[in-house]
Symmetry: C2
Subunit: 712 residues, 2 copies
């Protein structure tokens, strides 16, 4: 990001800000969860982004080679992680590191004699420990995940999995002794770790993984092996050339029996020389659409031996003689899986979409094009109804995502506490909502980001617009941590199950509508509550249709799996509709329960909420005509309502995106900068290209001139 000052703010943008009718700070606080949260976030951003070492090369990274990109990512990562430790000391007086260090010494654990013994560890200690980790982890998340990290390294970071997956997995699956040893080393960055699960031939279906870990009681070791090419680990971030340890998921064999997937800590590279350990075949998987800073890698094992105590044994143990003992509950691992999806909704989908709408809206206020009135000045493109139709629903969607993400985070915390107390009731509901929210939010964000990019015409195609990297990050999240179609079907499975219970038992809050929705048939009026009801009717209608389709197929004698597969298209649609209905209700709820909202902000939020709803009704009007109390003759009035909303929102659009609070470095866009100096920044960005450093490139003399002259 160019930090040069371009003088006064663009006049059009300045005018837009002056005509804003509400207090943008109030909206910022509401979105972020309070004034304190905004302050904290700003403090964090200032701490990291004011460091010239972390914010030095800016856009020029896209011109370097793949190897140079990697080296720069490592250089910056080292600086960043040192700085994270500084931040921790500054905020927590080093308590986190201290705690693990003292535990390490108390337990007399050292590199050569690690002992697995659960004797001295109570469940209570584990739970406390876990909560403590989650709190610290949250700070890491706000640094590494979401937007701050993307300001420092646009194309991903090779150390992230170390914190985001290795440490949480250790907490979830290691004994306290294992935690003490490994987390202490990881936390201090003595080692850099990754998490290796997915294989070249196996993704979603964990039971299909092929890597084996066979216990050898003679030496008290596990032997890790990759029996086929398709069993190579593939994708883990930082695995290529960065990590020296990995948590590897493998099929456990002991005494000739396969016990399924278990976690093993495996050393990949020598700590001094970084050379791959014997039997370790390792490298990076190559160039990708985006995230080229993450050093995703592959990993094959040729009979690699590790000590027995490097199997994580909180949930299951292999004794010295090879006896396999399963521990009673492994719900915590389930909780960890959900966690990443919860984090993606806010940290990726909502945050990156917020960037995109900010860039596109500011650009549309500055850009003038074509002719609305003959002879008049070219209008701001933000005044075209088609442009408003591209941007305003995306803005409303972004805000709806923030509110849903907050709900999801809150219920995640509640359920985690309940799990610690052994209560499992809310887990299926949380799981169902995390699945569909991750899927809908990443998919909507990806579509909307591309719409925003195209709405900026050719300039959106420039790397310096920051749309390409933004899209690359978000579309990756449509696939990782649960491919979206698979997640929709998981939510749908829950919905169909609930559907069958509507007559017999009480339903959880998010699905209670299944009972009543289809029976309500009132005349349509244009109101938020009528819209909310209609969304529920559509979701319920689609669930009903899918469930009946499955029933009909089953009655015809189809196997349950085939019956399920035959309804899969409608099932996906049901889960999506369920999620949209949830998002609308959550949005409405925020407006209605925040009683101290100023009337000005309440008005703007209501407009955005209405637009979110009306936009989706018209987008999916077929479903609404089929399953809700909307009739054909209502459609025109909905179109008029949408039209009126676009007009009402227009004067506040720049104010609304300003409220999303995306800072300059995080935005990282020539088109979206606060000052609106679009053309100056585009021009300066073009001159960062190394090709522009010389008037004539060497290739002219080497190739072109001989070619041109050969034709004379």
């Amino acid at each position: 990001m160019n930090k040069k000052s371009y003088g006064k703010v663009n006049e059009d943008l300045d005018k837009e800000r002056k005509k804003c009718t509400f207090n943008t700070t109030e909206l910022t606080h509401l979105i972020e969860g309070g004034e304190e949260k905004t302050k904290e976030r700003r403090e964090l951003e200032d701490f990291f982004l004011s460091d010239p070492e972390l914010n030095d090369i800016g856009a020029a990274g896209e011109y370097t080679s793949h190897v140079e990109k990697y080296q720069e990512a490592i250089r910056k990562s080292c600086i960043l992680f040192k700085k994270i430790q500084d931040w921790q000391s500054y905020k927590n007086c080093g308590s986190s590191v201290d705690m693990y260090q003292s535990q390490s010494s108390n337990n007399l654990v050292n590199n050569n004699s690690k002992q697995v013994s659960n004797d001295s560890v109570t469940e209570n200690e584990l739970a406390k420990n876990k909560q403590y980790m989650v709190n610290i982890y949250l700070e890491y998340r706000s640094i590494l995940g979401g937007t701050l990290g993307s300001a420092i390294m646009k194309d991903g970071m090779p150390f992230v999995v170390h914190y985001v997956m290795f440490i949480p997995a250790l907490v979830g699956q290691g004994t306290l002794q294992q935690q003490a040893y490994w987390i202490s080393r990881a936390w201090n960055c003595e080692i850099i770790c990754t998490y290796a699960q997915t294989e070249l031939g196996h993704g979603t279906f964990i039971r299909g993984l092929e890597t084996t870990s066979t216990y050898d009681p003679a030496t008290e070791e596990f032997v890790l092996h990759s029996p086929t090419l398709t069993s190579y680990k593939w994708w883990p971030g930082g695995l290529g050339h960065t990590a020296n340890y990995a948590l590897v998921m493998a099929q456990l064999y002991t005494n000739g029996v396969c016990h399924g997937i278990h976690p093993f800590v495996v050393q990949l590279r020598d700590e001094e020389t970084h050379m791959p350990m014997p039997g370790i075949k390792i490298g990076e998987i190559g160039a990708k659409l985006g995230m080229n800073g993450t050093n995703n890698g592959y990993l094959g094992f040729d009979h690699v031996r590790i000590p027995r105590d490097q199997m994580l044994m909180k949930n299951a143990q292999v004794l010295k003689d090879g006896t396999y003992q399963k521990s009673p509950g492994d719900k915590l691992a389930y909780g960890t899986m959900i966690f990443v999806r919860v984090a993606v909704v806010r940290g990726v989908a909502a945050s990156y979409l917020a960037k995109a709408v900010t860039i596109a809206t500011r650009y549309s206020a500055v850009r003038r094009q074509s002719e609305l009135k003959p002879g008049a000045r070219e209008p701001q493109i933000l005044d075209y109804r088609t442009q408003q139709y591209k941007l305003f629903p995306a803005i409303a969607t972004s805000i709806a995502m923030f509110f849903s993400a907050k709900w999801l985070w809150d219920i995640y915390n509640t359920v985690t506490h309940e799990l610690d107390e052994g209560r499992l009731e809310q887990l299926p509901e949380l799981h169902a909502m995390a699945c569909c929210l991750k899927a809908v939010c990443t998919a909507d964000a990806a579509v909307a980001i591309e719409e925003c990019r195209r709405s900026c015409g050719g300039h959106g195609y420039m790397t310096c617009s920051n749309f390409p990297a933004t899209y690359g990050m978000v579309t990756a999240a449509e696939t990782y941590e649960g491919e979206n179609t698979v997640l929709y079907l998981q939510t749908a499975r829950y919905l169909v199950k609930c559907w069958h219970l509507t007559k017999s038992s009480e339903l959880p809050a998010t699905v209670q509508y299944l009972r009543k929705a289809t029976s309500r048939r009132k005349p349509w009026i244009n109101s938020l509550h009528c819209l909310a009801e209609a969304f529920e009717q559509v979701a319920a209608g689609l669930v009903e249709v899918s469930a009946s389709k499955i029933d009909v197929c089953s009655k015809k004698g189809m196997a349950p799996e085939d019956a399920w597969n035959s309804a899969a298209i409608q099932l996906v649609e049901s889960a999506e509709a369920h999620c949209r209905s949830f998002k609308l209700n959550t949005f409405i709820n925020v407006i209605e329960t925040n009683r101290d909202l100023s009337p000005e902000l309440r008005k703007v939020l209501t407009q955005l909420c209405e637009l979110y709803a009306v936009f989706w009704v018209l987008k999916k009007v077929g479903n609404f005509l089929m399953y809700s109390n909307i009739r054909k003759e209502d459609v025109k009035s909905l179109q008029d309502w949408q039209y009126a909303l676009l007009i009402s929102i227009r004067p506040n659009t720049v104010g609304i995106v300003d409220s999303l609070g995306v800072g300059e470095e995080i935005l990282g866009s020539a088109l979206g900068a606060w000052d609106g100096k679009v053309y100056e920044r585009l021009f300066d960005a073009s001159n960062e290209s190394p090709l522009n450093k010389k008037p004539v490139d060497d290739s002219f003399h080497k190739y072109m001139k001989p070619f041109l002259k050969s034709n004379l």
Copy 2:
């Protein structure tokens, strides 16, 4: 593309091919327009792709720096263009070059004394000339545009505009003398040219361009100038460091009067040193989402003088004393503009989508994942209904595009002939169809390519899948050569105009349905003809709604432009619906008029056509419930029909994509290769990364080790 042989074809893929029920060659010929066309295309591909110099680095290009990428693009372009000349000599015995060379000498035109005189040039000669150019140009198009070029340079080529825009523009706008001189030089590649129209601050709205060209009768020169930063030319391909001449569009001023936009040939760089000419400020615009091989550039003028005869004067002249004379007709320029859109429908949208569906389908036949039946082998993902729903409509769409592209090309040729005879009747219809087909086809292709990519899970995100470059190329076409929303609105303007004529006069073929569609209300049956009628009813209904909205607003006293803007969202939807209806009718027409189709192929094509139609009905079912004779109770039977079509198409899917005839080098994908050796190719592709050439990257010693050790 890895040319290594991996032995036998993957077993699953082999089985798929064996169960295909129709002759894939028959479909290939139908799509390409006959056996002869397929033969020609293959001959062309063999000629170019068998050259090891043109097909040498393969995927490794993505690991190099920006400058290296450019230099490689220049190196290859020089080889390629030499080879194109060889091809021309081989096919045409050099006639094209000869013709222009003899004209040059006949007219005694040389570098120092170019004379503009139209005296000896008849209209007839110009027309003949033009047709001749178009024929030759077509061959260039099949080499440079579409898929062959992308096999040689995945990320675009810096010389393309020279052929694709400079030469055609000279044909359309230069006098015969100007053509003789400039085309001869361009054709022989003595000079490399580009076409500079778009400016940093001005795109679609040509009248808004700011670059000025002011005639100075004292020296008989034009003075080109860029009065502002926003007036810099921005985007032309090859402008950055490659071209030494450009055709520049500028506001012509003579005797103090502005006459609007006119074309001027301007020398940019010295022919010997390639240094920018005095007053020329030039460079590339920087990194982009894709097409980083095209060297798009910027260009500013500081009072740059050019001789009077470098204004192209076929359509308007400036005499020595500065007198401005407009020639009667400039329809040909209009024709040239349409031409590029016509080319994009087949060469970009249909061809690139064909690549994507081929890759995704073959991968889905090879990839096995999850569990349909407990205990059974993981199924091919092609057997999941959700996967079929992602891929099969995309396949049908790709085939529909090829047929519509053929229609568009035929009518383009007809209209061009008519224009030469001074007949203009069909031009508005051609223009309207070219606009909406370019918009719908590029937009549908972009969406479908991304759907195909995601359907391949994480592996689709790899550069070696070739999805990222494919998407980058196609999504660019959504914006260039007429931004899609602007194009939809141009078609809509034509539709509204025709709508008002329904009662009074005969309508052209493509809009005749406007008269009858809304009055037909028959009971629904599931048949192609009912579907086709329904599509027309929807298009007509949407046009009617838009037209009424404009009328109502106008009657309320709104200015015509505001009334238009207020209906813009519906107008876009009308144009889209019109286009989809057209595409369906064209598809049906191909099936019905090709009487010698084998019954097997006819069956498969009918299934694909039905799927195309049913998919879009269900996707936009709201519009069909609103405006067609489909009723709510028909929707379930349409869903069942769609379901049945997915099942019917399933056994032939691999055969169908094989018929699209995309060769290995053109496909360029580890996931989509003919042999289905997906995992072997992915693994080998990863090892093309230069990071994998050494076990330990230097950054470990330089950055990581000091960091890891500092924490001990």
